[in-house]
């Protein structure tokens, strides 16, 4: 009986390039979904407001506050 020739393809644990390519679109969509999830909970953080939310075209106006200079504490 002839033994079949076997060869290991490159893998990381059970992850191979083939099944990684198969999962990639779904993982990308989960990446987008989790980004919006993070956006929800960082909505009130000033650093996130300045870097991400204020540059948004129309919606960004919500985070841009222009109080009268007279009303600011000295």
């Amino acid at each position: 009986m002839v033994q079949p020739l076997t060869k290991a393809i490159p893998h990381f644990g059970k992850i191979t390039l083939q099944n990684l390519a198969y999962y990639a679109p779904n993982l990308a969509l989960w990446g987008g979904a989790s980004t919006f999830g993070l956006f929800i909970f960082t909505e009130g953080v000033p650093v996130f407001q300045d870097t991400f939310f204020k540059p948004i075209p129309v919606l960004g106006q919500h985070w841009i506050k222009n109080p009268d200079p007279q009303d600011l504490p000295q």
Partner: protein
């Protein structure tokens, strides 16, 4: 040269709005969860703006920004 109308046949003739909605939002859990998070993110500033607009309309005339206009520099004279 045109010899009559061009007939285009497609395998999926017409998708209803609900079919498109199902395929883009509900079919995959990742797009479903993503849509919910995106809607939640939009809802926060929308609710904030709506409630602020209602409050300021309800208390028109009593807010500092309205009272300030009626003072006419009286605040500066009070200093001494």
């Amino acid at each position: 040269m045109s010899k009559g109308r061009k007939i285009v046949l497609t395998l999926t003739p017409h998708q209803s709005f609900y079919t498109t909605l199902y395929n883009t939002v509900f079919k995959r859990n990742s797009t479903f969860v993503g849509t919910i998070f995106f809607a939640g993110f939009l809802f926060q500033p929308a609710l904030d703006s709506a409630l602020t607009a209602w409050f300021e309309n309800h208390n028109k005339g009593k807010l500092w920004k309205d009272v300030k206009l009626t003072l006419n520099g009286a605040a500066e004279e009070d200093d001494e």
